[in-house]
């Protein structure tokens, strides 16, 4: 067990590689109750969400979800979030565990500045969160619910019962695989967890920990806030221009993001593959001669692709696929190459 954002969490159960492969080929079960939920409701909730986050929440139908960023006035990350449209003027933001208090205070302050009829509630204690991820996820979860899961599209959600417990189910995840996240009242979480393990037993379901969660998300090119980006990294620099609602009205940090999009960008996150035998990890320097020009933000040996990959923040001149990168791995200079993202994409979309 390790301490993670104030939670005691298992890094691994049966081993990172085993858990990773189980999620890619069958189905894995993650306890991600550490994730936070902050709800905004009131007559001006949409306007408030539009002001504090980068993506265009007006494009969401009720029941739909989008990836977005809580931005600073510099267009950098307070946090990366998922925005759930619960009702016309009711939104739920799913935020990172370590940022719940910071995000909540930030949102309360920014919403107050912006004005309007909106209440902001830290609803995190109301939810435990269980992620069922993998190509067999739908089949295993369907055995426990009357919700027609096939009708839930990617990044949509529905309400219903799982194992007799009232839940919300979203077709989302942090693995690059098809799957669901089940929002459960904490008192019933263990019951749902055990029911899923039992329902998936014949399929070979296995619990998976933080270690596999990290290798899976990186293999799928999903960013980890706090590792790949933080309050010094803009949304555009993180390579996430697609979560900026360029057509919507001004929001916190939009001026700087628009300027970067128009050509003032100096650096950007890229995906790389090692050409030498080594793993470049968070904090290792990207070198040009004796000068550090960039930094590795994530790196691992990926169990499914069986490649050593990572993400690095580098000058724009070094971002084209095929560009060689020299990385200092504990005093040894090793060669990597910029590659297109994502590293892994599942063959059959949901």
């Amino acid at each position: 067990m390790v301490e993670f954002g104030g939670w005691d969490m298992p890094v691994e159960y049966s081993g990172i590689v085993d858990e990773h492969m189980t999620v890619r080929t069958k189905v894995g079960l993650f306890d991600v109750s550490h994730m936070g939920q902050i709800e905004l409701a009131g007559a001006d909730a949409l306007a408030a969400v539009q002001w504090i986050s980068s993506n265009d929440a007006s494009r969401l139908a009720v029941g739909q979800i989008q990836y977005s960023a809580l931005t600073t006035p510099e267009g950098t990350f307070v946090d990366d979030i998922l925005v759930y449209r619960m009702a016309d003027q009711h939104f739920m933001l799913v935020v990172n565990a370590g940022n719940i208090m910071k995000d909540h205070q930030w949102i309360v302050a920014k919403v107050a500045e912006h004005g309007g009829d909106v209440s902001v509630v830290n609803a995190s204690p109301r939810y435990a969160l269980i992620a069922v991820q993998g190509p067999e996820a739908e089949r295993v979860l369907q055995a426990l619910t009357a919700i027609e899961l096939a009708a839930i599209k990617y990044y949509w959600f529905a309400h219903g019962e799982v194992a007799g417990v009232r839940v919300m189910v979203s077709r989302t995840g942090y693995t690059g695989e098809d799957g669901f996240e089940v929002f459960v009242p904490p008192a019933q979480a263990e019951r749902v967890w055990n029911a899923l393990l039992e329902a998936g037993e014949s399929t070979g379901i296995k619990p998976a920990g933080l270690g596999a969660r990290d290798t899976l998300r990186l293999e799928a090119s999903m960013r980890l806030c706090g590792s790949d980006m933080d309050e010094q990294t803009s949304v555009v620099e993180a390579g996430l221009s697609w979560i900026v609602g360029w057509k919507k009205d001004a929001f916190i940090g939009s001026d700087r993001l628009r300027a970067q999009k128009a050509g003032s960008l100096d650096r950007r996150l890229v995906g790389f593959e090692m050409r030498d035998r080594a793993i470049a990890r968070h904090g290792h320097a990207v070198m040009d001669g004796d000068t550090q020009v960039g930094v590795v933000t994530s790196g691992t040996q990926t169990p499914f692709l069986k490649k050593s990959i990572g993400l690095a923040m580098v000058p724009v001149a070094l971002t084209a696929p095929g560009t060689p990168l020299t990385i200092d791995v504990r005093g040894r200079r090793v060669q990597a190459e910029v590659v297109p993202e994502p590293f892994y994409k599942r063959s059959k979309p949901a």
Partner: protein, 123 residues
């Protein structure tokens, strides 16, 4: 329980002493702590190590650790199979040897732990 025909270090290496040669690997305890091993970096044959000197690195999906020579001596051989099958450190830790050295100073053997003492250390 750890094999009684091996000696151990506090840095979680095992040592098999045969005559004036010593074969070195890492223990079951060490491989469990590391998790899935993906790279093992070993020294060149002929390198002369002092006791406690770093002779290589071992990297798992989640961490990287240094390997310490339990004894002084010249490297006689390295296990090249670990280049293609690093996972054997996980599956057979007490067979997946890393280096064989020519023991320079047999008095150093007294500093190694027997299986009972090592077992106690890992509890």
């Amino acid at each position: 329980m750890y094999p009684t025909d091996l000696k151990y270090t506090r840095e979680h290496e095992w040592v098999r002493v045969t005559g004036d040669e010593a074969t070195v690997g890492i223990t079951d305890f060490a491989q469990k702590q590391l998790g899935d091993v993906v790279f093992v970096e070993l020294p060149d044959v002929g390198r002369v190590l002092t006791q406690g000197e770093v002779f290589g690195t071992i990297e798992s999906v989640k961490a990287v650790s240094e390997l310490f020579s339990p004894l002084a001596g010249e490297v006689l051989a390295v296990n090249g199979d670990l280049g293609t099958h690093p996972e054997s450190v996980n599956s057979q830790p007490h067979d997946a040897w890393m280096i064989r050295i020519k023991v320079a100073n047999t008095s150093e053997l007294a500093s190694l732990l027997d299986a009972d003492k090592y077992d106690a250390l890992t509890q």
